[in-house]
């Protein structure tokens, strides 16, 4: 439901969904979620407030998760950010730390609203990942009851 070219306005998308759906719904968000994590957490909070049950699935490319580059590379930003020429070998650790910190914020924010948050690696088969997630979720629901 969210995506496309250009910078994603995550907060606006979440608010619009929350306002449009009048009954209680299961809302699954599939996105790379590249934006301010506070916007995402507020969006999740809004959805919960309206009685929906949001599931946040962050879809990331394997390269974005592992940053496997060795030689000098010019990264061409897809969402309006200019090219960045850098030495990936010397900044890999920093990048991965930033990525993990972001995920930590996301996970903590979602869990505080009792919303699920999972990271999906595009290199894995999406149907398998989803079915495994849904099975785990069903099992968790039975335990709650």
């Amino acid at each position: 439901m969210a995506g496309g070219a250009g910078k994603t306005a995550l907060r606006a998308v979440f608010d619009e969904i929350a306002e449009r759906l009048h009954e209680r719904h299961l809302v699954i968000v599939l996105s790379d979620l590249f934006g301010d994590p506070e916007d995402v957490v507020r969006g999740v909070k809004h959805l919960r407030h309206r009685g929906h049950e949001p599931i946040i699935l962050q879809v990331l490319d394997d390269a974005e998760l592992t940053f496997p580059f060795d030689q000098p590379t010019e990264f061409d930003g897809l969402e309006g950010v200019g090219p960045v020429l850098t030495e990936p070998r010397l900044m890999r650790d920093r990048y991965l730390e930033e990525m993990k910190a972001y995920m930590r914020v996301m996970r903590r924010g979602c869990h505080s609203q009792e919303a699920d948050y999972e990271v999906l690696n595009t290199s894995a088969k999406m149907s398998l990942v989803l079915s495994s997630y849904l099975a785990m979720r069903a099992k968790r629901s039975r335990h709650r009851r």
Partner: protein, 733 residues
Amino acid sequence: MWFAHPGILLGAVGAAFLPLLIHLINRRRYRREPWAATMFLLRAHRQSKRHIQIDHWLLLVVRTLALLAFGIAIARPYLSSGQMNWSMTRSAIDRVIVLDDSLSMQSMREDGQTSFEAAVQAATQIVSDVESGDGIGLVSASSPASSLVDRPLQDATALSAIMDERRCSYNQTDWAGAIRTANEVLSRGKASKGGRVVYCVTDLAGASIPVSDVATGQEDIDRIVIVNVGPTARGNIALDSLRLESPVIGPGVSSRVRFRIANLGSEPAHDIRVQITVDKHAGQSVAIGLLQPGQSIEPKTDVTFESAGSHVVTASITHSIGNVLAADDIAHLAVDVAERLPILLVEPDSQASISDRSLFCLRVALRSRQARSDRDLDAVRTIAPSELEGEILDEFRVIVLGDVPRISERSMARLRRYVLDGGGLIVAMGQQVDGPEYQKFLFGGREFPTATGTSGEPDAWRALFETGEYRLDRYVRADESDSVVRFKIPTLGHGVLADFEGRDDGGLNQAVVRGYWQLGSQAGDKVAPDAGELLHFENALPAMLHTRLGLGRVIVLTTGLSMSDTTLPAKPDFVPFALNLVAFAAGDAGDRLNVETGQPLISRVASQTDNESTVGLGPNGESHPVSIEAQNDSLVAVFRETHQPGIYRLRQGSREQLYAVNPRQDESDLRLADEGIVKAAFGPSVTIVSGAVEAAVGVHEELPRELAGTAMYLLVALVILETWAATSAGSRA
């Protein structure tokens, strides 16, 4: 700071830019990657940017410096004296320059200089480059090596002046003497152990380095630097020998000369021609054609001396390519040609017919000399042994003793005097000879003849008869043995017998010996230039011996010359054999007239007063002093200024004697000495540098201001730093 190899340094400076160049090239060779997670990338990039830049520039600087340090190290930096003053103090250093001024240094280099000119230039540079306070000595290496200054001097101007006046000699290099002399000069200097250096400025021609002799006598030398100033191309065609192949019979009779020409280069030599002249009158031109590297040949040619007197034959190379040394392209041969050859034959009185007398056949053979010339060449006189004491021996050029049984002691003394003064003596021993008497006469007491009892044993006689320990055992008659005894000619190439070597048709080899004196010897086939065995019997016993004695010559035949001793007189070879024998005994005085550079010219004089009337003239007509000296109880005029090859003249009143002075042969081989030989002779730590520019480097090499080591330490430190920086950057990554 100065550099020994500034060219290498320039190259190193260029190479130092390589890391920067590689960095710039790599910056242009990056991959492009579309990227969505720019928010993390930008944040990481912002935080890492400073570290990355530091790492990059640190590595770049370290790698650049490492290359620069490597270049500086091999460019061999050193500090000049001014820089040394503030950086360190050092003890005085004494140096000796051994200037090779031998004949081979006349070789022409590619730059148009002779090797000697380049040597003087290099030596001058060494002198001008040393520190004030250091001493320099100068040694001439041409034989005999000599010191040009007593002790190391600090006067560069005086040393340069000595070198400027120095001229290249025609002698060989005396390496052993030069190093010994350098050692002596250093021992008189101020420098202590560790500061005594010898520079040998030379063409490093390998043939002239006697390893074992040079290796000794280096006690006070700490280091030897060899500055090679020789030509790069070292091809040389040398005419290194010119001699008479057969004795000179007389004026108008052709004689054969033989010369040796050698290709001492590494390339074949084409179209070589040798011009032969007699007394400056051009004779034949001998075409040699092709000479392979290392090959030498000995062509022969006939020459005729039209008149009696002193003559000079000259052989000169007129055309050859790849011949860098001209000094050995010409050779001279001085020859004395006698108008008449007065011969005294001494044979016992005999009741037998004239034809049975001991020297009858020789007398007949000598008459045939006239048949070979239009002139009356000989004056042969025959006497009995009893008349010998009263005869005026000096009137004869040759005396032949033919089977004379006994010789009185007075005659022995007169014969010795006669030979010492230049006469030729032939002793033919037949069966009438009294063995013990002749043992005493010829070989007893290790002096010839023993009966005179005078001092001064002649060296040549000793060389033959003392070392040979000859014993006149007994007379052997042919009928004692079943086997027939014949002559056997050893292959010696000697002028007397060269015509007969390898030939059987003339009969010398076939002649039967009917009786001979058995001469026991341990000498074997030893033949020295002035003494030796010329002819053997088939049983290897000596048949003919010869030796120089004073200015004359003695020839001993262990058999007689009559038909009762041998059938040789009946053979065709007898006449030429007899003529050669007599001519050889009379001598062309060849040994005396032909000497090497540096050897004295000697001429017999009648009295001390001849000093005033004797004049010595060099090759360019310049006159030199002549001294009158006593040698072997005779007075001789001695001329010692024979340092230049060419034709010399000794004038005594109206008489003029020509002499030929030729350079030594061992300087013609210009091939570069093998490094192993150089190290064996001059020590394993010897340094070899090339040319004048590097000579100055040698001056600095031995000093503590040499900075190559420092640069190497810096290089090692930079490599360690680079490794650390690269590892550190990698670990951060």
